[in-house]
Symmetry: C2
Subunit: 361 residues, 2 copies
């Protein structure tokens, strides 16, 4: 359950790399609606954070969670966790449209919030979240897992930082996902709740476009959504794509979809191709198509050569330790609040602006 | 020279697969401005066509051509070829903006025309070409080499035809190219002559989007161009991308650029990813990044499995034989005139509509 990589989600486990002493940073989990909560908890715990307690109204979800993390105390209510002075941060993976409301309660209780992506689904929620961050001084951090919890993605950032491909011209992302419709809850197919495909799994992509281009802002220049092959769930966007133009003048493009076929070894053949003035990087994040070589493939081509890096188990996930320290020291090394919110804003805008495609039968 | 694959162009040689008897189909070459003429001639000759003569005002280009094809007679003028009743078809790779004018002369002389892509650079030229086709009954065929002369591209079409990935949802193409600026002629950097990046190398991509989706028409919903890193040639678009929506309701996206770094084994890591309702296809046309496995890699993922096909030398290039027979029989099996013109129209429109990006230094 902690690492159901072949199924629906990706809840990586890394090497422990604690940044604090035992007990120095305590967190809890509230809202287990999406399996990403396991990735969020794994990351924090590997950074030395202690998982104290958990709450969800659904007993079955609690049962499964407590099998994975027997140390977690089953709280009787959300309030029990919010009023626990030892808990510094609450990790949550609520229904997407409810993530902001939970965050407001968490921040109002004086704790930092670490939510699954997408962190919110409307511009009104964004305004409320921004206001609460300002008022409370707390963090509304986001588990953009397809960059933060993927070793090729971390390594790509390090390569770009050191100038390996020159200036970034374009970030292109492919985020195919397996639907596994029968295993999904009802809210997953209700647009008001999941937010639409560009908001939901598109948020990963937009965060990466901002991050790899080093942008502080961007405009969505084109976006579209469609339901090509799932008439039984008409509110599901099974396809979406979008183009962005960043304030660095670079291009961003991404495609997301729910068409991963059952014969694929992994839930999705996630790719990222980053084109620079002096070379390019391709990430084959979770698998190397047509091979059994496992995850973690990064290819770098530059003026000198092509290099195939297998970084699986070698790079780790520095975000989580940085986040723990950011919470303790009130710094922004893991991710700035502005960045987290800008990605959130743009994924909502991409969804709002999207042309609705009308596939021919 | 015939096969300068690692340099600038791709002039594939295949197995001879003649569809006519020796002498049954005679053609000539006029205008050697782009190296693609070698691919065009190779393809026709492998189909059994006989290369009779060649003309270009540039003696050096003629010298090189006649080294590659000693059987070709050096004509003293274009008119000498156009008035030769034995010549049924003229292959040409003129400066892009002059391709239409040459085609009009060829068709007016009662011969079919086979031009390098892009086949024209303006809507006015397109109107003139359409009118001439109607008036003369001759063909204005186009060497969209990145599909017609690439075995994975041919095989992908066959797979889609037999339903291997269900209905096509999106065709996504990446067409990076090596600039090799010093080896390029001046016209290559003059926009009025080369047509802009979306018209020039974008034409390959648009043709593939139409072909793989089975579309007869499409609209360009977004396009942009930029010069990110070549201030010395300000009219060069070194980057461009575009989104199309086809009349089958499918999406098309492509990126083209001149940023292939010198360390890459090939002039470009051309890819095509075709997403269907029941699976997807990835083409790694000319190389398999980070390996020395050569060209011709096609990956198919469907409900059952992932398959890596290496089709190099196995599929061949049926277009050329079909073209020769189409010319003899006045059929349209290789490519319809409408398809050739529609791709031409859309690449001009993509270029005309393109937002001009302003990269930050």
């Amino acid at each position: 359950m902690k690492n159901a990589a072949n199924g629906q989600f990706y809840a990586p486990e890394g090497k422990p790399a604690p940044v604090v002493k035992p007990g120095e940073f305590v967190f809890s989990a509230i809202a287990l609606d999406h399996g990403h909560i396991y990735g969020q908890c794994n990351g924090l715990m590997e950074a030395g954070a202690v998982l104290k307690s958990v709450y969800d109204p659904d007993e079955k979800k609690l049962d499964a969670f407590c099998v994975a993390y027997p140390q977690a105390k089953r709280a009787g209510s959300e309030e029990e966790i919010l009023s626990d002075p030892e808990v510094r941060l609450v990790a949550g993976a609520a229904v997407t449209s409810e993530r902001c409301a939970l965050g407001l309660r968490v921040m109002d209780a004086g704790k930092d919030y670490f939510t699954d992506k997408a962190p919110l689904t409307t511009l009104e929620q964004l305004a409320a979240a921004k206001e609460a961050v300002k008022r409370t001084g707390k963090k509304y951090m986001v588990y953009y897992s397809e960059r933060l919890h993927v070793e090729t993605a971390v390594f790509a950032g390090q390569l770009i930082e050191r100038g390996a491909i020159g200036r970034v011209v374009q970030v292109l992302g492919l985020g195919p996902h397996r639907l596994s419709a029968k295993s999904r809850p009802a809210w997953f197919f209700e647009k008001e709740k999941y937010g639409g495909i560009l908001c939901d799994i598109g948020s990963h992509q937009i965060e990466q476009i901002l991050f790899y281009t080093g942008a502080k802002d961007a405009v969505v220049t084109h976006s579209q959504i469609g339901n090509f092959n799932h008439p039984e769930t008409p509110e599901l966007d099974d396809f979406g794509d979008a183009s962005l133009l960043t304030d660095t003048g670079a291009a961003g493009y991404f495609r997301v979809d729910w068409f991963t076929p059952d014969g694929l070894q992994m839930w999705g053949d996630g790719r990222s191709i980053i084109l620079g003035t002096e070379g390019f990087i391709e990430q084959r994040k979770y698998m190397n198509l047509g091979t059994s070589d496992g995850p973690g493939h990064l290819f770098l081509a530059n003026g000198k050569e092509e290099t195939h890096y297998n970084v699986h188990g070698k790079v780790g996930y520095p975000f989580f330790g940085q986040l723990v320290l950011d919470c303790l020291n009130r710094t922004e090394n893991a991710m700035t609040q502005d960045h987290a919110f800008k990605a959130a804003e743009l994924c909502v805008r991409a969804q709002m602006q999207a042309r609705v495609m009308t596939p021919q039968p």
